[in-house]
Amino acid sequence: MSRWGKSPLKRAKRLRLKSNQTGGELPSAPIPLPALGERVFVLGVLQMIDFLQLVFSGFATGSIYALAALGFTLLWQAAGTINFAQGEFVMLPAFIMLAFLSYGAPLPVAFVLTALVSTVVLGWAFKRAIVDPLFKYGMMQIVVASIGLSIVMKNAMRAGYSAEAHPFPSLFSDQLFSIAGVHISTNDVGTLVCALVVVFGVQAFLAKTVTGRAMQAVAQNTESATVLGINVPRMIFYTFAINAVLACVAAMLVTPVYLAKFDMGDSLGTKAFFAAIIGGFNNSRGALLGGLIVGVSENLAAAYMSPAYKDAVALVVFMIVILFRPQGLLGRKEERKV
């Protein structure tokens, strides 16, 4: 909260307190209304509180978009892979986790087991079966194949398991508490903190550890990395594994709200793409920024403009960004090759 924010809030509270005191009995005389200037001010403060609440819950949603977007940019940087099935990569762990939970595993255990399964299925198998054989043909081939994969995953889940939405236990209890009049749910706070810890953890891993730096070297220049003795295929596999684990975390955080359903990845995947491109496709910090921008602007637009057009907000921001800054807010420019 900034300096200018504090005193108006206090004054608003004082005024609210006043009205509570007088609200008990029927007033015999008209309550002396505050001066017009002050009334507008109070209204402004209340709106401010609404606004902050919206922004905060937008942060929570946005941080989940950021998780999916981060995996997306990592795959693009390290392996030139655009994964159209990113949304389904979140859907599948949600169902795997539900399966483990139904066998009586507590949520943290289920998460760890799911992360292992996902690393094998969505990391290793995806890389070996789809990306490796297609890598030599170029990007669009992988894109089309991953579109095919997303259709397979979604519809096989529907046909083979269930077309219903399944409830999913939340990691956090859903309580409301208020800071300076702003009501905040523990779920939102927990989600935001969890997602931020994971995003910054991944970034610290990339920036600080030898393996992480080797992965970045592979992403920047594969040939030089090979010459320097870096095990390139292994680094690329690590990227796929990180993407799979990020998808698991996103699944754990988003499914209590979205419910586990075969098509839950549809909007999530698209939002993650938009977030990644808004932030800058070749910058992993961009994914976080893009995710938060999409989450917050969606929430604000739903509240102040039209909830029906909420899904179009990410698109509008995306269009503005690619028209004026095609490389994304934090991205570097890439030269076009002849």
């Binding site: 655009i82 789809i130 054989p133 297609l134 043909y137 990007m139 669009m140 081939q141 992988i142 894109v143 089309v144 194949a145 579109i147 095919g148 994969l149 997303s150 259709i151 397979v152 995953m153 979604k154 519809n155 096989a156 529907r158 046909a159 549809d266 698209t270 793409f273 938009f274 491109i277 039209s306 029906a308 057009y309 899904d311 179009a312 990410a314 698109l315 995306f318 269009m319 690619i322 028209l323 095609p326 076009r336 002849v338």
Partner: protein, 357 residues
């Protein structure tokens, strides 16, 4: 055109002309839907396959065409006025959608077009006063042509060799769609053989080279979107009249992705690719839904898996199979000739060696 191609063409024409009278109503309906998707994907094939612009928003134009005609016909305006309106609207919006393509390419463009589709879908779903929202619009009439109402009548029969065949109600409209498909195909064929068609392909193969050769890449990029959109619009106009009830679902992003896959599976940049693509992506799943409903749910997973496998083994689509076989045969012939020549040279060398000694 080889003799075999002409032969295959004649068989195909005979099939689409003569088979439907023997089908039940649902069969005729499915064939009509198939042809409508062929028109739509032909447009997408121009944008994606010939001009190389990755568009994932084609179903939006399909929907715009359908809704334009539906809304106008509900207001009592003739289909023959609705069609040109839909065409103009799609052309203009296609031009507009082309603009992002001037800034960004490949995957960025794919997402921009996908987003456009989402926006159009939201308008269809939310603006109830105009589009009926999720309830959709129903009771869209069929057009009349030369005073002949294409609504069709139930219970007409055909006498053939003394046997009575009941005719499907939708048969008249089917032939109308067939004629429209034939016209659309002929126009596209002409367009692709013209300098315009060559310019589109130059744009796809190497945009910078095309520009340096004096092709106005900006105009051709926009036009490839606009003409593709017009095809989708015409298809949509026919679709609205065929199904007589439209709602937003068939025009969602998923439908665009399906159309893109139809083009890729059939063979992007192959003239007849959409015919095969729509057959696999549209006609066969509908047919399976009719004859084996329990299998219908598994069609999409299998289709998706086929796409994945095709990307590895047959990335240019099904229509590229003859080319592949030809290329293989040519290379086999060439290597046989090479082997022959090598042995001849060896023989000559051996002879000359003998002479020298």
């Amino acid at each position: 055109m080889s003799k075999r191609n002409i032969f295959l063409g004649v068989i195909f024409a005979a099939m689409v002309l003569c088979l439907p009278p023997f089908l039940k109503n649902y069969g005729v309906y499915m064939f009509s839907t198939w042809l409508i998707y062929v028109i739509a994907t032909m447009g997408l094939n121009l944008t994606v396959g010939y001009a190389g612009q990755k568009s994932l928003g084609h179903a939006a134009f399909f929907g715009i065409g359908a809704y334009t005609v539906a809304i106008m016909m509900k207001a009592g305006i003739s289909w023959w006025l609705g069609l040109p309106t839909a065409v103009v609207l799609c052309f203009v919006l296609g031009l507009v959608l082309g603009f992002p393509a001037l800034r960004v390419q490949t995957i960025y463009l794919a997402f921009a077009t996908l987003g456009f589709n989402t926006a159009v879908f939201l308008v269809m779903r939310n603006e109830e006063w105009l589009t009926g929202g999720t309830f959709g619009l129903n009771g869209i009439p069929r057009p009349a042509i030369f005073g002949f109402d294409l609504k069709g009548q139930a219970g007409s029969v055909m006498h053939l060799f003394g046997v009575e065949f009941p005719l499907a109600k939708d048969l008249a409209f089917y032939y109308f769609v067939l004629a429209a498909t034939a016209i659309a195909t002929a126009l596209l064929w002409g367009l692709l053989r013209s300098p315009w068609g060559k310019a589109f392909q130059a744009l796809r193969d190497n945009p910078i080279r095309a520009e340096s050769l004096g092709i106005d890449t900006r105009n051709y990029t926009l036009l490839s979107f606009a003409i593709g959109a017009v095809y989708a619009g015409v298809a949509g106009a026919l679709f609205a009249s065929l199904v007589d009830f439209i709602e937003p679902a068939p025009f969602a992003v998923g439908a665009s992705i399906m159309m893109y896959l139809m083009v890729v599976v059939g063979g992007a940049g192959y003239f007849l690719g959409p015919l095969v693509g729509a057959l696999i992506g549209m006609l066969i799943p509908e047919w399976i839904r009719d004859v084996a409903p329990s299998l219908a749910n598994w069609y999409l997973p299998i289709f998706g898996a086929t796409v994945v496998v095709m990307m590895v083994w047959l990335p240019d689509g099904l229509m590229s199979i003859p080319d592949r076989i030809r290329a293989k045969r040519d290379s086999r012939l060439a290597s046989a000739k090479r082997a022959e020549a090598t042995s001849e040279i060896a023989a000559i060398a051996a002879q000359s060696e003998g002479v020298a000694q």
